[in-house]
């Protein structure tokens, strides 16, 4: 990590425009594998795999969002699925057709029962709601030390989940919220993934990202240089929340049905394991982790539901995927805390490779 900072810092000082272009291109290069996988699935895969891929893309956006905060501030965030949920419920409440709303939330307060907006303005308003919650919670979290901030992020998750469950007039409680217009397909999901990856990369390489990473490594040294770590943590918290909220919005728009339990601990486990396996210091790591674990988990789930091997029907093995996720986290932390990708982004790895090849 310190090596990476030494690599990028002089360039950022010498040629601000050049550094911007470099991290923009870097972000685009990083998102190339995602585009390739997406295009392959779009053109060749059967419908079932397209559906799986859409889920994986949502996870990708969540994990990239998580990376923006965790990777730069090095504080574990265990509450990000609250923002995913808020984004999803935001568009569900705003954009569901009135006929459907009569069935699901006829008594919604604040006139939401008689409101139907187009998908784009719903999405913008949902992002606004996510941003406000992020700003308020971020004010608290950015003041705390690392451990306390993690616990408070968990408390935030529980608060939001409990509101989804108990404010039945608005969020429909434990039941599924259905009838959300299905307006997002794989192409939109790919575009948004690329945008988010580039955004995360730009933030990481920006002045703010660099200062935040420095303050995560040595709070005292960074403070002595005049870096306001609190403000930077707040900025990255809000950006991370907005990206997670966007993931929730996209999920609601492709699945059409959401329920509170989707945005609770299961999502936290999955996305956290993906980020850790891939390596949280880099955007490339976020992407790698999502690709590897999405494939791996799908394989494990097929065993979990009971497979037939050589004519013998194995029993259902509920909990197997959970064990696998946990083992991935523990082993990664013990043997390779920096994850698969380590400290280099894909474009940095490629350029090193070609420099050595010459």
């Amino acid at each position: 990590m310190s090596q990476a900072i030494e690599d990028t810092a002089p360039a950022a000082v010498a040629r601000p425009g050049g550094a911007l272009a470099r991290s923009l291109i870097g972000g685009l290069v990083t998102s190339l594998p995602v585009l390739v996988v997406g295009l392959l699935i779009l053109n060749f895969a059967p419908t079932y795999y397209t559906f799986l891929a859409l889920g994986a893309f949502v996870n990708l956006i969540v994990v990239v969002g998580l990376q923006v905060f965790m990777g730069n501030s090095n504080i574990a965030n265990l509450g990000h699925s609250a923002f995913v949920g808020l984004g999803a419920y935001g568009v569900a409440i705003l954009s569901t057709p009135l006929a459907m709303k009569k069935l699901s939330i006829p008594n919604a307060p604040f006139g939401f029962a008689t409101l139907e907006l187009d998908p784009v303005s719903s999405a913008l308003l949902a992002l606004l709601a996510v941003g406000i919650l992020a700003l308020v919670s971020g004010k608290v979290i950015s003041r705390l030390s690392g451990v306390a901030a993690t616990i408070v992020s968990l408390a935030l998750l529980i608060i939001v989940h409990s509101v989804f469950l108990n404010w039945t007039g608005l969020f429909k409680g434990n039941q599924a919220f259905f009838g959300i217009p299905k307006v997002v397909g794989l192409p939109w999901m790919m575009v948004m993934s690329v945008v988010v990856i580039v955004l995360a990369r730009l933030f990481k390489d920006s002045r703010w990202g660099l200062q935040l990473r420095a303050s995560a490594q040595s709070p005292q040294a960074a403070a002595a240089l005049g870096i306001d770590a609190r403000r930077l943590r707040l900025v990255s918290w809000v950006l991370s929340a907005l990206i997670c909220g966007l993931a929730g919005i996209l999920y609601a728009y492709f699945a059409g049905t959401i329920s509170p339990k989707l945005f609770y601990f299961q999502m936290i486990f999955n996305t956290l394991a993906m980020l850790i396996l891939g390596g949280m210091a880099t955007v490339t790591g976020a992407m790698t982790g999502v690709i590897v674990l999405s494939v791996g988990l799908e394989f494990i789930r097929s065993i979990e539901s009971g497979v037939t091997i050589a004519g013998i029907q194995l029993p259902q093995l509920l909990g197997l995927s959970g064990v696998a996720l946990g083992v991935v986290i523990v082993l990664c932390m013990a043997f390779r805390p920096s994850g698969i990708s380590g400290r280099y982004e894909l474009d940095e790895l490629l350029s090193r490779f070609f420099r050595h090849a010459k």
């Binding site: 705390l144 030390s145 451990v147 306390a148 968990l154 529980i158 909990g319 959970g322 996720l325 932390m333």
Partner: protein, 299 residues
């Protein structure tokens, strides 16, 4: 009056349980800076051992209590040996995420090997009776929770203040490197801390089983989340802070239960956490937290 007394007893009993679990977290954190998310699964191991022993024919409640405490202490030591030793000198976030991973693994192992559904355990139900003091009816479990927690905390304080190993533990929580230079074995100090933490979890497990009469894979998870919150309001790493934070949490919860109308009862947890987050705005380091409590840990 009767009602008020009953609610105060409720709050004290809840608070005592949170304090026990929070103390277990704080003992480990203060020494090695590990945020032990797997503490709930130590409670789980303890509860499932009693469940298995009962299924195999154990009938004595006293043996069950001893088994619960021993199993929890052993589980805590085993977790440390297998999972936490490799990340002992790693940054706090690494340890936290490792513990989170252990918690997921063990919770899912309960699901995989035993059952995702709650299993009934009736061996400790005898602890939960109604006692009558003149006009008052009190739950024996609540009285026991309060007394046992009080005694346990007293024993812990005596151990930490009077014994050599306790002194080493307290010193290690300030400056581990120097304690090792004094010729104290790191592994012994840490194993003892985990054993204490586990024993506290085992006592909590006995109370949980006596109250619920069943075990389930996520038995300890939500309790430990609350205990973490108790640690944070008390001041992370401070032992008195953990005890005070646990009590405060008990009083906030019961207060909300009394104050909230029935139809808003579901918001109890949300409001509890919201109140605590609001407290942290004014005292980010917790009520009793001080930099010196953190010792050599950088968080």
């Amino acid at each position: 009056m009767d009602y008020a007394l009953q609610q105060v007893l409720n709050a004290l009993a809840f608070g005592a349980e949170y304090s026990l679990v929070a103390l277990g977290l704080a003992v480990v954190f203060s020494i090695m800076g590990l945020v032990n998310f797997a503490h709930g699964e130590i409670i789980g191991v303890s509860a499932y051992s009693v469940f298995l022993a009962a299924a195999l024919g154990l009938t004595s409640p006293i043996v069950a209590v001893l088994l619960a405490i021993a199993a929890a202490a052993l589980a805590a030591i085993a977790f440390e040996r297998v999972a936490f030793r490799p990340v002992r000198y790693a940054p706090t976030t690494t340890g936290l995420l490792t513990a989170f991973g252990v918690s997921i693994v063990v919770q899912n192992l309960f699901m995989l090997l035993i059952s995702p559904k709650p299993q009934s355990v009736s061996i400790l139900n005898g602890l939960n009776q109604m006692w009558f003091f003149g006009p008052f009816a009190v739950s024996s479990l609540q009285v026991m929770e309060l007394i046992v927690s009080g005694l346990t905390i007293l024993a812990l304080v005596l151990f930490l203040n009077r014994s050599t190993l306790g002194l080493a533990i307290r010193a290690a929580s300030r400056d581990f490197a120097t304690v090792r230079l004094m010729g104290i074995r790191a592994n012994r100090v840490i194993a003892t801390a985990f054993a204490i933490s586990g024993a506290l979890a085992g006592i909590a497990a006995v109370f949980i089983m006596a109250r619920r009469g069943s075990v389930s894979p996520d038995l300890g998870f939500s309790l430990v989340l609350k205990a973490f919150v108790a640690c944070v309001i008390g001041g992370f790493g401070s032992l008195p802070g953990a005890a005070v934070g646990g009590m405060l949490l008990g009083f906030i919860e019961v207060g909300l239960l009394v104050a909230l109308p029935q139809e808003y009862g579901g918001f109890k947890d949300a409001l509890t956490y919201a109140i605590i987050v609001a407290l942290l705005v004014y005292r980010p380091e917790g009520l009793l937290g001080q930099r010196v409590e953190l010792g050599d840990k950088e968080i």
